[in-house]
């Protein structure tokens, strides 16, 4: 595996530095400890939104820092949660006096490190509330796991909660909106290839040329099961069905459909998946009123995709449509 990097040890800091240079109109990068804040600093009186997690999922999270979305993002090492001493200063940078919402993907590492950071920040007088994104329906029986994982649905949580904060909602209200998104968003993913963590020198798992992994997360871990390679339409059905079932979509609903690339899959293939996901939803009587297709929550150069459905109501739709100006999402 070849990578356009200088050194596995410095790839995150160099990449974040480059990101800051390229998007100086939107973000300000802090390098020691590493976090990315909204250009211009915290907005007084506005609830601050902070997210973070391991690197390797770009544009998540730094690509979503900016007006109408996050106030700060905290990138850890590749696929490894950041540490409290990075997260706590990001909380401080995001706090405009109205408190901070931490959006945490449900992984033990992220949960524990954000929890510790919140304790540190609270000790400094910053109010921190946390929501945990757990949209991955691949993890079926969450009684026997650390709960469902947080994957591509995170984008919807960050966008919509970000819009709520931007319009002036207080912390309780922003938390409530975020929780409503979390309650209504589900995702399932597939890997055609593994990815290569820079320092590992090996693919994250071994997958024969004629097999794929269904029910993957976003850390290059293997999925729930391995099946023979199938057509895009068949694979899309394997992803969409549990998502739609888990949401209990029976017809008449309006939804956002997000087809997310894992990093190494061409856009053309994502649109083939989108086409079929949309047909399947329509066959259920579900109306796709908002769409997003592209690489938003990735696993380095992994080939694969995930299908996310968010059940919309008028308010969630309006918040989704609200202006956003970040490096990776803008309208």
């Amino acid at each position: 595996m070849k990578k356009l990097i200088n050194d596995p040890q410095t790839v995150v800091s160099e990449s974040v530095e480059g990101f800051g240079l390229a998007h100086a109109d939107v973000v300000a990068v802090h390098l020691d400890p590493t976090f990315v804040a909204r250009a211009g600093g915290a907005v007084p009186g506005k609830v601050g939104l902070v997210s973070g997690g391991g690197s390797g999922h770009e544009p998540l999270h730094a690509g979503f820092v900016g007006v109408g979305m996050l106030d700060a993002a905290v990138p850890g090492p590749v696929f490894t949660s950041p540490t409290p001493d990075q997260i706590a200063p990001a909380f401080a940078a995001a706090d405009g006096g109205a408190g901070v919402l931490a959006i945490v993907k449900n992984y033990t590492g992220d949960v524990l490190n954000f929890e510790t950071a919140a304790e540190l920040a609270e000790a400094d007088g910053i109010t921190v509330r946390t929501v945990t994104v757990n949209d991955d329906v691949a993890v079926e029986d969450s009684l026997y796991t650390a709960g469902r994982r947080g994957v591509a649905g995170t984008v919807a949580v960050e966008k919509i909660a970000g819009a709520a904060a931007e319009r002036g909602d207080d912390l309780d209200a922003v938390v409530a909106v975020a929780e409503r998104v979390i309650a209504n968003v589900r995702t399932m993913g597939v890997a055609l290839t593994a990815c290569w963590v820079p320092h590992a020198g090996k693919p994250s798992f071994d997958l024969p040329e004629d097999e794929i992994e269904i029910g993957i997360g976003i850390h290059g871990e293997p999925g729930r099961r391995r099946i023979p390679l199938a057509s895009a339409d068949e694979i899309t059905e394997l992803l969409l069905t549990p998502v739609a079932d888990d949401l209990g979509l029976t017809g008449g609903e309006k939804v956002l459909l997000l087809v997310n690339g894992m990093g190494g899959t061409p856009a053309s293939e994502l649109y083939v998946v989108y086409r079929q996901a949309r047909r399947l939803l329509e066959a259920r009587g579900v109306e796709v009123t908002r769409s997003l297709v592209g690489n938003y929550v990735t696993s380095l150069e992994m080939q694969g995709a995930s299908v996310t459905v968010l059940r919309l109501d008028d308010e969630l739709t309006a918040l989704w449509d609200a202006p956003v100006h970040t490096a990776a999402l803008r309208w």
Partner: protein, 214 residues
Amino acid sequence: MRVDVTWATAWVRGSARTVFEHRVAHIALDRQIGDGDHGENLARGFTAVLARLDALETAPGDIGEVLRLVATTLMSTVGGAAGPLYGTAYLRAAKVTGFPELDSAGVVAMLEAGLEGIVVRGKASPGEKTMVDAWTPAVAAAVAAAAAGAEPDGVLAAAAQAAEAGAVATIPLLATKGRASYLGERSIGHQDPGATSSALILHEAAVAAAGRAG
């Protein structure tokens, strides 16, 4: 033979060495049922620990001081699940080791505090295929050894041996906590990386005590 501040420093340096030596092995284990970073995470953490240890202007006055340095360094450099878990373990252990030297009861208290820290943070029970499965038998063995009249080094040796057995015993377990739990049945048949590194680190505690004796 003495479990004192010199022992603590030797333990930490030994831990660093074993973590560096097993970096690839831990990555390989974590690649099987996790995300392949456990070896890298610990190596990054202990590199920082050594750096801070070497940068100290005055030698640490007691065991607790050494363990507190390890705790805060791991907390702020390891990340992932292992960072807060190990960090809290050392932090709790540091709280009960603010002495120049520990007797057998003190060693037991230290190990108990470490395990408690892991459980408080991670909320795992024994049998969930986590580092708790190395620490729980280690504490039990330490308690038994101390009760049987073992010296501090003997208590640590008993704990290390039990931790190692506990780590191996995670192989047939189904993971229900941490990242490996997402694999469901596929987590069976692999040794837990965190239990493995825990056993290695506890082994270094015993080596450091034995080394002092020899």
